[in-house]
């Protein structure tokens, strides 16, 4: 592996540095903008002209911008979705990876196929369904974050089962066979052998699902109509989504606050994430 280290590293640094600049550019601008009280996105100068915390203060004081509630909603719904969908996905992945049953292959195939259906065009159908649920129990229907949560985990089976199955397939068969010989039941094999082994991958799947949910805004903007109940994605989009009027300052400030926890989470799990992403592909 390590032959001729440092022999020709110049191109590596050039590539890496240009990518660092490319990556840094929008991040830099958004930071500058967040401290610029005039609300434009870098008006005529790339260097910071004015400095104030106005945009940040606005997020926590303006009653029309309940940023804290948005953040809370996003965190609740993303965490709940992440945990539930990993539980559902792991159980399904285990069944598909280790158990033999009728309809297994066709089941796997149809899961994949339905998953690639451009599902948000069924928005209207989902909307009508959730309206009906709203009539029965408002706390689970249209307008509630728990209703949205139900829809999100509806898709969990397809995505996560496939991702996790790839990893579970790499766990040697001998491991569960010997456990079975020792008298373990199938659920025991699952809970005591597979879940601990898969913990890092499960964590990664959970993080990816968390980020995915955090990012989602089409369904969320349709469902969460009350200002207080929105997620960060929907709430912030309003600042700059207008056709003629855009306020970048608060958007930038809100984005930075919302990104920080995700970035920390991501960086600290970086090692696992690399493993998790390639688990399905590089086996064998």
């Amino acid at each position: 592996m390590s032959k001729k280290v440092g022999s020709n590293n110049a191109w590596k640094h050039i590539l890496a540095i240009s990518l660092v600049l490319f990556t840094a550019f929008p991040i830099y601008v958004v930071i500058v903008t967040s401290f610029d009280p005039t609300g434009g996105i870098s008006s005529n100068s790339l260097l910071p002209v004015k400095f104030s915390f106005d945009n940040y203060i606005l997020l926590f004081t303006d009653s029309r911008v309940p940023y804290l509630s948005w953040m809370k909603n996003s965190l609740i719904i993303a965490s709940a979705t992440a945990v539930t969908s990993v539980l559902i996905g792991a159980a399904a992945a285990f069944a598909f990876s280790r158990l033999r049953f009728r309809g297994r292959r066709i089941g796997l195939k149809s899961l994949l196929l339905i998953q690639v259906f451009p599902s948000f065009l069924s928005l209207s159908a989902i909307y009508v369904m959730m309206e009906q649920v709203f009539l029965v129990t408002p706390s689970l229907g249209l307008g509630s974050i728990w209703g949205l949560y139900l829809i999100y985990i509806g898709g969990a089976l397809g995505v996560n089962a496939w991702l996790l199955k790839g990893f579970l397939d790499t766990i040697p068969l001998e491991l569960d066979e010997s456990a079975r010989l020792d008298g373990a039941s199938v659920p025991q094999v699952y809970w005591l052998i597979f879940l601990p082994l898969a913990a890092p991958v499960l964590a990664v799947t959970a993080v990816l699902s968390f980020i995915g949910t955090f990012n989602e805004f089409i369904l969320a903007s349709l469902f969460l109509q009350d200002v207080e109940k929105r997620t960060v994605a929907v709430g912030l989009q309003q600042f700059v989504g207008g056709q003629y009027e855009q306020t970048w300052g608060p958007f930038a400030a809100g984005s930075i606050i919302a990104s920080v926890p995700l970035v920390i989470l991501f960086l600290s799990l970086q090692r696992f994430i690399i493993g998790g992403l390639t688990a399905g592909a590089t086996k064998g």
Binding site: G39, F134, L222, D226, V234, Y244
Partner: protein, 415 residues
């Protein structure tokens, strides 16, 4: 199943039943609710005057649902069904057309007194195939404001603004001479002030068979005022990024709607109202005026509150007191549609807009939204201006646009 399993099933069933018994449904409140949907500016205003509305419909409750934005309201309305849909919705005038087509909005029987309380234009804007589809609430219209720190007096001709812009462009860092806060819709006064516009008029009625988007006068004036020596925009007029530029004090004259005033005031800009002058003194640009309205939905019938909702529309939304109360409850009031109420409004901006919009012409949603020629007026006028500003040939671009508009208008005139 083993015996043990039966036991377990029994236990579960018992537990489940016990929990569900605790949740014995409580009886409904006796009064029926009339549900109103409105956007983020009108909704909160209505919420604050629910008591006044309920006084007009004894026996009913009134509840208001405010949406986070105008777009959010539109999306929700598009997808709503009788399950959670509103009984009354507040929306712009184009809903009369689309709602009558889709059957989601009901036509109203309005009395002659109600009819007389509004201008003909307002009722006309909400009339489709001789049926009235809403009670006009406020006028959606733009007016001209000028930054008094830059121009002390209202300009009398287009040339005056132009001269000011060219003279102070560099010294004061002006980005434009005139800008529109609301895209091409808001830019209409500039087009008409320069001798163009959309369709011609026979007296005061629109003549849809005559497209003036590419009129010779406009071609001549547009070249003179809007384009520089290189054939591209000279920056005199812009209909994008107006918001930040005007608030930064870099544009002397802006075309604004009532809903833009909050931000302008917050930015600390000192302004006065006026009318956008034409090429010669004493002429003015004509802006669109549309009418937002309160509509009766067909869901009201399904919810069993049709008479109540209808009465609320006629007694509250169509009355002088109701219109004034609603207007005053709004943070940024718009000019009122109700004739006698609009004279009594205390809000300066609403009054200023009312004055400024004397030259307004009705925004006919049918022809403007028609797509027979391939795209509607909003897209066509936007693209035409963009192309011209980017340096494409002015005459051919305008002619092409006019050809599309002619097809649209001809189709709209048929139905």
């Amino acid at each position: 199943m083993t015996k043990k399993r039966y036991g377990v099933v029994g236990a579960i069933a018992a537990a489940a039943l016990a929990v569900s018994v605790m949740a014995v449904p409580t009886a409904f409140a006796a009064k029926k609710s009339i549900v109103i949907w409105a956007d983020d500016t009108r909704g909160p205003a209505l919420e604050s005057i629910v008591k006044q509305m309920e006084a007009e419909v004894p026996g009913y409750k009134v509840s208001v649902r405010s949406f986070a934005s105008y777009d959010a309201l539109g999306t929700a309305w598009d997808k709503a069904t009788a399950a959670t849909g509103p009984d009354i919705i507040l929306r712009d005038g184009s809903l009369a057309l689309s709602g009558s087509k889709s059957g989601k909005i009901q036509s109203l029987i309005i009395s002659s007194t109600t009819r007389a309380a509004f201008s003909k234009a307002a009722i006309g804007a909400l009339t489709v195939k001789a049926r009235v589809y809403g009670i006009p609430t406020d006028a959606d219209v733009t007016g001209m404001v000028y930054n008094t720190a830059l121009m002390a007096k209202a300009p009398k001709t287009m040339q005056e603004i132009y001269d000011y812009y060219t003279a102070n462009k560099t010294s004061k860092g002006l980005t434009n001479g005139i800008c529109s806060f609301n895209g091409t819709w808001g830019a209409q006064p500039v087009l008409t002030a320069l001798g163009g516009g959309t369709w011609g008029y026979k007296g005061t009625t629109a003549n849809l068979s005559k497209v003036v988007f590419n009129s010779p006068a406009f071609k001549k004036n547009a070249k003179k005022y809007l384009l520089g020596a290189d054939g591209k925009t000279n920056g005199f007029f812009s209909y994008s990024e107006c918001d930040s530029a005007f608030k930064a004090g870099k544009v002397p004259v802006a075309l604004v709607g009532a809903w833009n005033m909050d931000g302008i005031q917050k930015a600390g800009i000192k302004y006065a109202w006026g009318s956008l002058p034409g090429v010669t003194e004493g002429t003015f640009g004509n802006q669109w005026v549309g009418y937002s309205a309160a509509y009766l939905t067909s869901y009201a019938t399904k919810h069993g509150v049709r008479i109540g909702a209808n009465q609320l529309l006629n007694r509250f939304f169509a009355s002088e007191e109701g219109q004034l109360a609603f207007n005053e409850a709004q943070k940024t009031p718009r000019p009122l549609a109700h004739l006698s109420a609009s004279e009594k409004t205390k809000d300066l901006d609403a009054a200023g807009l009312g004055q400024a919009s004397r030259n307004a012409v009705p925004q006919l949603n049918g022809p403007l939204g028609d797509k027979t020629g391939g795209a509607d007026w909003y897209a066509v006028s936007d693209d035409a201006l963009k192309d011209i500003f980017a340096g494409k040939d002015l005459n051919t671009t305008l002619d092409k646009a006019a050809a599309i508009l002619a097809k649209n208008f001809a189709n709209a005139a048929k139905s």
